[in-house]
Symmetry: C2
Subunit: 590 residues, 2 copies
C-alpha cells in the first residue's frame, strides 16, 4: 500500500449509498447477507475476499477502497521487477479496477484512503482527492496490510532511502539502477532485503546488506543461514551481520551510513527492508482491538467491533506450534483468509475457520533456495517446548542421476513425535520437501509417519527413500532409542563429557577435525573396538561423521559392544555450517 | 534380477552353517532375535532389509543371496544409462558386496540362485556355479522382485528382443544404440517403455512405441495421457495405441513385427516392456501362499510359512483407496517395506506396520512430467466407488514470473470429501503437487482441508494460492453446492439434456467450440441473462470456458438469476485433451 495521500481540500461529504443508511442491517452471523460489503485494501487478502464474496452473492454491493493507485498488484514480484527479471511494470498488475468490474461486478475505488471507522454509524471515513466522505457498510473487511518498519536511524529521511512495498517504490529503484548507480546498501537481510540485494548485485551494483541479527534470514536456524551467506558472498554482496545502521549522512554524491559496529558504508541508494508492521494507525481511534498494533480477530476474522472483520498482514494470529501471538505478513495466508472471511460473511453455515498460519516461507538466493515451515529452534526454546532436531544432507534426487545436489534438511519434533518444524536449504527440490512437511505438520502427523509417505520417485525427481522418508526413519530411530543424537549447539559440553569419535576416513579428517577427537574410520571400528573402550575410559562416546550416516552405523556397533554412545546429528556439514567463518580456525588438521 | 543361471554341474552340497543346523530356533515374533537372517534378492527391498537388520543387530549372521552378478543396482536408472544421460555403468552400482561387507558386515553372495524353500527344515535350496547347496535360516526374507512379463507373441525369442531389467540388459541395449541401429520398437508404453522410447529417439533412432491400452501410460486418466502422447510425438516417436504385437518375424537386416491392427513395423531392435510379474516360480512348490503369482503377506511382511517374510515387487498388497489386491512394483514401497520387515524381525516391539502403497509414481517425458497418486478414475469406477473429479490448469508459479507454465491437475474425492487420488501433468512443479497430495491422502485429509495447507510461496516457486489450495477451494465448492460440476466423460449426455453455454471470448470460440453451444462471453452474461433463459427453455445450463475459472463465475451469475447450472470441470483444455486427435474434427469453428 502507498503512504496515505493527503488532500488539501478535505471535506466531509455524506455518502448517498441507500443500502447502508436506510436498510435494516442483517447480522452477518444470522441468515441474512449484507447488502453492502466494504473492503479496505485491494491487495491479497482484501481482493480475495471481495472476489469470493461476489461469487457467493450476485446481488450484494461490493466496494473495495484502496489509497494506492493500483489494486491486486504482485507484491512479491517487486524485487524481480527492480532486477529486470520481470520486464514490464504491467506484469505486476494482476488485476485492474476495470477488469474487476467486468468480471466480478466489483466497485473498486483507488485513491480512497480510509482514515477511520465509525462503528456506531457503520460507516468508514474516506479521504480522496475530492475531499472526505463517509461510506456506510453492512459488513466491513479491513485488509490494510503492513508497511515498512522505520527503525530510529538518524537521517532515514534521506531521499536516497527507499522502501520496497509498492509498484511506485519498485519503479523508482529500477530507475536508479538503470541510471547506473554504483553502490547500494540494503538495511535488513530478511526475505525482501535478500531479494533486493541479489537483484541489485546482479545488475553490477556494489551491494552491501546489513542485518542486526547474528545471521541473514533470521527465521532460519544458524546452520541453515550460513550456506545462504556464502551464496550471497558468491554474488559479490558484502554481508554484515550483528550490526545495524546508526545514522545516515546525506551527501551530494552519496550517503554515508554509520553502522553500530563503528564501520561505515557509502551508498548511492539505500533500501530499507528492516521488516514491516501492521498498517493500522487509521483504526486506533475507532475502538478496534489491537495487539501491538495488529488487529485481533477470531477464527472467522471477526474483530471486536460488530460487522467488522480483518484479514492479512495487519491481523495477529496464534502460532499453532508455539502458541506465540504475532502477525504473519505472508501472501498465502492472507489470500486464503480473505476467501474464508467472505465465506463466513456470505454463507456462515458452510464457512471453515481460518487456520493459524504455520509461517511456511521460501526464498530463492542465487542458485540456492531456503525454505522453512513451523517453528524454528529459537522459537521452540523461547516457548519452553521440549524437542529434538535432526539434520540430514541427502541428495534431492538419485545420486547417480545428473544434477544431483545435496539438501540440508532439519526436522524438529516433540518427545511424543509430533512434528514441530522443518527447514531446508539447497539448490533444487527444497520447496517440495518443505511443502510435504508443511502438509504433514498441518495434518498432525508424527515424525515416524514420514516413513510411510508415498512420495513420487523416479531418478530425476527423488530417491526411493525420499529425504522426507529418511527424516522419518531417523526420527523414529531417535524416538525408539535405536539412535541417540546430540546437537551441534552442545558441542562444547559434549567435548567435556564424552570421548569424541570421528569415524570418517583419514583423508576426510585431514581437512579438519574437532580438537581432541579420536579418528577411527567406521570400517575399522569392529576390529578396533577395544581401542575405543580404552580411550573412552568410562565416558560415553560422541560419534561424528560427515553427514550422520556412518556415525549411525558406528553408533550401533558401539552399542552392540556395550558402549554408551550418541551421534552428532548432521555431521561435519552441519558442524561446519554452524561454526561458519570460524570453522577453519576452530578445527584442527590431523 | 537376471534370469536363473543354469549350472551343468548342479549337485547337492549341504551347507555347513552351524547356526541353522544346531542352534534352537528362536521365534522371530518372540523375544529372541534370529541368529541367521537369509535374504533372497539383493536389490531395493532385500538390501534395505539386510542393511537395517545389521543396524539393529550387531551379532546376527546376515546373508544376502542374489542370482545376478550385481546387487543394489539402480534399477530405475537403467533407461538413462541406455540413453547415455548416465554415462558410466559403475554409476548404476549403488553398492558392491565388498563395500557391504566393510560397512555393514553383510555376507552378500552373487550368482546364488534360490530354487526352493524347505520350510520344515528351515533351509533354502541354492544353485551356484559350484552346484546345489542347502542353507539354513532362522528368518528368511524373500525379495525376488519381478520379471518382465512375456506376452504370447510368436517370435518373441528373436535375438533382437531385449528386456530392460538388469545392468546387462541396459549394457546390451546401449551397445546396440552405440552401434548405430536405425530403428527401434518398444512394446508397451508404461513407465519403462516410455523412458526407453525417449532415450532411443533422442539417440536418433527411428522409434515406434506400441501400447495395447487406448492411451500411453495406462495408469493416467485419458485426458492426462494426451499431452504425454503429444510430447512423445514431438520427440519424433511414432505412438501407436490400442494395438499390440502379434508376431515377430526374424530377418537378416531387421525384424518385421505384425501388429493386431494389421499394420507392421520393421525394427533393428525391440524392447519388451509390457509390464512385469512377480518372480516367484521358485517358491510355488514350497507351500508359500501366492495370489496370482504374488506372495501374500500380512502388515509385517509375514507369509503363511513360519519365519518366512517377503517384501517388494513380488508381494501383493491392498489398495488403500479401492481395496483392490495387486502387487505394486515400485522402488519406494519396496525399500521402505524392507526396512520395516527388518524392524519386525529384529525388534518387533517397535515395529510399525507396512503401509499399503498408494502407488504414487512419476515419469519424465521429454520436457514434461506426469505423476499420480491414489486411485485413477478407471479403478474407482471398477471398485464402484462414488466420486467427483475436478480438473484445474493453474500455473506452477506466479504467472508474472518468467518460466510460468500450466499444470494439468485433477483431484478425485468421495462424497464426504475424502481424497481418493490425484494426477498431474506439466512442465515444472508436477512432482511437488503430487507429493503434497500423496501426503494429504496418506494423512486422511479431505479435499477441503487442502485449502488450509501452508505451502511455501515466492514467485519462482508457487502461487499465493497454490494449485493444491485451489483444488481444495474448488473441491469445497463442489461439496457445499456452491458449484456443480460435470465431467468431460459425460459430454454427449450433457449435450442432449442441457443448454451448453460457452462463456469464452469470440476470438477463443473461433478456434473451436462444442457443436450446439451458445456463446456469450462471461463479461456480457449479466446483461444478457434473459437470452440464456430463453435459449435454455427450462433445461439446465452446462457452462464451459477455457480452464474452468470463468465458467465458475458464470455459474454463480446463472444461479444468482434463478437458472439451474453446472460447470464442465477443466474447461476446453481438459475437453480437447480428452478428445485427443479427434478434437479438431469434433469441434465447430464459429
Amino acid at each position: 500500500m502507498t503512504p496515505a495521500t493527503t488532500s488539501p481540500e478535505s471535506s466531509s461529504t455524506p455518502d448517498n449509498g441507500a443500502a447502508s443508511s436506510t436498510a435494516p442491517r442483517p447480522s452477518p452471523t444470522g441468515s441474512g447477507r449484507p447488502r453492502r460489503l466494504v473492503v479496505v485494501g485491494g491487495v491479497a487478502g482484501g481482493m480475495s475476499c471481495a472476489a469470493r464474496a461476489r461469487r457467493l452473492s450476485e446481488d450484494a454491493e461490493i466496494i473495495v477502497l484502496d489509497r494506492g493507485r493500483h489494486v491486486s498488484f504482485a507484491n512479491c514480484g517487486l524485487p524481480y521487477y527492480v532486477g529486470g527479471e520481470i520486464e514490464n511494470q504491467d506484469d505486476l498488475l494482476v488485476q485492474t479496477p476495470e477488469r474487476l468490474r467486468a468480471w466480478l461486478n466489483l466497485d473498486v475505488r483507488t485513491g480512497h484512503d480510509v482514515t477511520g471507522i465509525d462503528p456506531e454509524a457503520q460507516e468508514v471515513i474516506v479521504r480522496t482527492a475530492a475531499g472526505e466522505q463517509r461510506l456506510g457498510y453492512d459488513a466491513l473487511v479491513l485488509a490494510p496490510g503492513a508497511k515498512a518498519a522505520r527503525p530510529p536511524v538518524e537521517g532515514l529521511d534521506s531521499p536516497r532511502v527507499s522502501t520496497l512495498r509498492t509498484v511506485e517504490d519498485a519503479a523508482r529503484l529500477r530507475e536508479q539502477a538503470d541510471a547506473g548507480v554504483e553502490s547500494a546498501l540494503v538495511l535488513g537481510a530478511g526475505f525482501i532485503g535478500i531479494e533486493a540485494a541479489e537483484v541489485l548485485a546482479k545488475r553490477g551494483i556494489a551491494t552491501t546488506v546489513v542485518e542486526f541479527a547474528e545471521h541473514v534470514l533470521p527465521p532460519l536456524d544458524r546452520e541453515h543461514a550460513y550456506p545462504i551467506t556464502q551464496e550471497l558472498r558468491g554474488l559479490g554482496i558484502d554481508v554484515r551481520t550483528g550490526t545495524a545502521a546508526k545514522s545516515i549522512t546525506h551527501g551530494t554524491d552519496a550517503d554515508e551510513v554509520l553502522l553500530s559496529d563503528g564501520t561505515s558504508v557509502r551508498a548511492d541508494m539505500i533500501v530499507l527492508a528492516t521488516g514491516v508492521r501492521p498498517d493500522t494507525d487509521a483504526f486506533a481511534a475507532s475502538g478496534l482491538e489491537l495487539e501491538r498494533g495488529a488487529i485481533v480477530v477470531d477464527e472467522h476474522g471477526r474483530t471486536n467491533l460488530p460487522h467488522v472483520y480483518a484479514v492479512g498482514d495487519a491481523t495477529v494470529s496464534t502460532d499453532p506450534v508455539t502458541g506465540a501471538r504475532r502477525p504473519v505478513p505472508l501472501a498465502g495466508p492472507a489470500n486464503r483468509a480473505g476467501r474464508l472471511v467472505a465465506d463466513f460473511i456470505m454463507d456462515p453455515e458452510h464457512a471453515r475457520p481460518i487456520p493459524a498460519p504455520l509461517g511456511t516461507a521460501v526464498v530463492r538466493v542465487g542458485e540456492m533456495t531456503a525454505a522453512m515451515t513451523g517453528a524454528n529452534r529459537d522459537s521452540l526454546d523461547a516457548a519452553g517446548i521440549e524437542y529434538t532436531t535432526i539434520h540430514l544432507h541427502p541428495n534431492q534426487h538419485a545420486g547417480y542421476f545428473p544434477g544431483a545436489s545435496q539438501l540440508h534438511l532439519s526436522v524438529s519434533f516433540a518427545p511424543d513425535g509430533r512434528l514441530l518444524g522443518a527447514q531446508c536449504v539447497g539448490r533444487d527440490g527444497v520447496d517440495k520437501r518443505i511443502d510435504v512437511l508443511a502438509t504433514a505438520i498441518r495434518a498432525g502427523l508424527g515424525v515416524a509417519d514420514l516413513i510411510d509417505l508415498d512420495l513420487a520417485y523416479a531418478p530425476p525427481f527423488g530417491q526411493a527413500k525420499d529425504p522426507v522418508n529418511l527424516a522419518g526413519m531417523l526420527g523414529a530411530n531417535v524416538l525408539n532409542g535405536t539412535v541417540d543424537v546430540w546437537d551441534v549447539r552442545d558441542l562444547e559440553q559434549v567435548r567435556q563429557t564424552h570421548l569424541l569419535l570421528d569415524v570418517r576416513t583419514r583423508a576426510e579428517v585431514a581437512g579438519g577435525m574437532v580438537p581432541g577427537a579420536l579418528n577411527i574410520p567406521h570400517t575399522e571400528l569392529r576390529a578396533r573396538i577395544e581401542e575405543v573402550r580404552q580411550a573412552a575410559a568410562g565416558r560415553p562416546v560422541g560419534v561424528i561423521c560427515q553427514v550422520g550416516v556412518r556415525a549411525n552405523i558406528a553408533h550401533r556397533i558401539l552399542v552392540g559392544n556395550g558402549l554408551a554412545s550418541s551421534v552428532q546429528t548432521g555431521g561435519m556439514i552441519t558442524l561446519r555450517a554452524w561454526l561458519g567463518d570460524d570453522a577453519d580456525s576452530y578445527l584442527v588438521r590431523a
